[in-house]
Subunit: 193 residues, 4 copies
DNA sequence: CATGAATGAGGGTTCATTCAT
DNA sequence: AATGAATGAACCCTCATTCAT
């Protein structure tokens, strides 16, 4: 029992190691430019071993995705939304989103990269993204109902916010001053009074 | 003279055909998943011929990019910016940008895809993107000077606009009602008055 | 332990087999006219396997050279030079050199062939050749010092000897009577007394 | 008539140009590493034109060989052999041979290169070489009959001479002092008196 | 005489994957 | 659990050669 448990733990560790190594390499060079041998070398194991843990390269890819789901964290963040004024919370959420995309930047690259060339990927990505937007839309509509935001199409706002943050990351732009400016623009508008 | 011109014209035609075929395939499957043979087959041509027209696969890629450069059109659009009120022109520009990304959606996929995994591509693409943003920033600062927009960081606004439109395209969302809402949000803000 | 050793031994054997097969084919048709597939077929092996053992075709070439380096044997021969009179030793050395070029005739063909069209090969080969000549020059100068040969430019003699033997091999001439005649000519000259 | 003659002359010129260009390139990089396109580019013509003048690449190769036969010159040289003392003439012949191999060094490279990998080439080369040796043997036997050289196997001497000179060229060694030393060694021997 | 578009076989090489050990 | 030898298909690219113009 104990031994088998130890074995299992060891196996789990090895599995995670392979996932992490693969994530790094995939992010650096893209999935196709990363060979199984590259991964094996970087992990210090033989190429054959990878097939002991994953059916094939694609399965390894999905394992990476599954291991890093950012939705949980975002959900937690929105749960405490009510405790802050609108502007503060939006700043917080935007900053956190920006940071998250940074922490998982390699993942972001992988996902985007693959999503753009593999329809079945795109499908799975859109589901996630839809959930993110839904979270945001829910919050915004709550604020509208509370009279803190003027009545309007919340989905457009949500898309603006996500798109703007995403664009910052994609272009390598820094968080400040852009994030603050974005939120202020969004809240107050840029038209002359 | 006539003959040589005819020959040249034919060659140009063939070149364009190859570019178009490649564009389609690259967009469908990604550049790496598209083999030279795939392109040749789709064009009804021997694989070797492609190397008669393009030095290698990468050169073919850049030929695609060059053939469809949206910058010229955008520049022309901004040249007549003064003739319209702010809101009208921004709607027009956003709509045109959205449409352009649509017409060139396959191109967009290709460019994104490659940019994400090949630093030297990212470099060249950022140059283009920077020029687009500069165009927009120039316009916005003009409107600020004219007192039509309140003084603010125009670059943040430009990035919001581009990011928002891009996000629409990437998520497959329709132009309306989003574009109008986005422009209105941007101009007037979403905060309650 | 035993198993890994067996594996290693097997791998070494396979490596040597590939070297030998390649040596034969390279000698028969020249390196460029021999494809990796030719080698693989002749060895009864998949083409990819060759790249498991050698980085590329060139590396395979150098592996052939390294496996059959005649310098060690020649060095050993010259170590016992003192035990024989000049004429006997020179006959022995010439005969041994002729034999060696025969045993390695295919190698000779390969080396010459490549040396003639690839500067970087010529470079590496000249180093080897220089060492051979140096060996001979050292010996000759020793004999001059010992008063057995008249004082003269030993390098010219060394080059004559090597050139003469090489020419025999290149033209397919037999060892006898040429070698004896060559040595005698070299020692006594052909001028009438 | 005149026109056709002019045309013919022009054609002959073009033919020779192609031969010369090909000779240079073949010598530089070897025949296989030189493509028809390389030759065409260097000559400033279209690839197709080469096939107007030569059936294929091999025919072009043979045309090069035929255009540059060194035998005529050597025969002329030996015709005046009697006018000089042995040592002087042998020096002259050796020097001339060395020079010839230099002038035609590129040709030498080509011939050697191809001879080593193509049996039918080797055959043709050996015929030429045999004629060269025969020329030399005839001379040497004449000198022996005249009492200027001691009676001995002239063919061995001829092979020594040719081999020595060839080795100088192949190793890139300079003419002097080697040639003089070689002739002196050959005439007087290197043994202590 | 001259062009250069077009062919298609074959080159070296990479790589996901399998399997005996 | 782990190895690494072995496979074979596919890749990008080169090139001698042909032929309509």
């Amino acid at each position: 029992m104990t031994t088998s448990t130890k074995r299992e733990a060891q196996a789990q560790e090895r599995r995670n190691q392979l996932i992490d190594v693969a994530r790094r390499l995939f992010a650096e060079k893209g999935m196709e430019r990363t060979s199984i041998r590259d991964i094996a070398d970087a992990a210090g194991v033989a190429p054959g071993l990878i097939y002991h843990y994953f059916e094939n390269k694609d399965a390894l890819f999905w394992a990476i995705i599954e291991r890093h789901n950012p939705l949980a964290e975002m959900t937690a963040l929105f749960a405490q939304a009510e405790t802050l004024p609108v502007r503060e919370f939006m700043l917080l959420a935007a900053t956190r989103g920006y940071a998250l995309m940074g922490e998982r930047q390699d993942l972001l690259r992988i996902v985007f990269h693959e999503a753009l060339s593999r329809p079945e990927m795109l499908q799975r990505i859109r589901v996630l993204q839809q959930m993110g937007i839904a979270l945001l839309v829910g919050y915004l509509n709550g604020r509208i109902a509370a009279g803190e935001l003027r009545p309007h199409n919340a989905e457009a706002t949500a898309r603006m916010l996500v798109g703007s943050i995403l664009a910052l990351r994609l272009t390598g732009a820094p968080a400040e001053p852009y994030i603050t400016d974005i939120i202020d623009n969004l809240l107050c508008g840029v038209a002359a009074p």
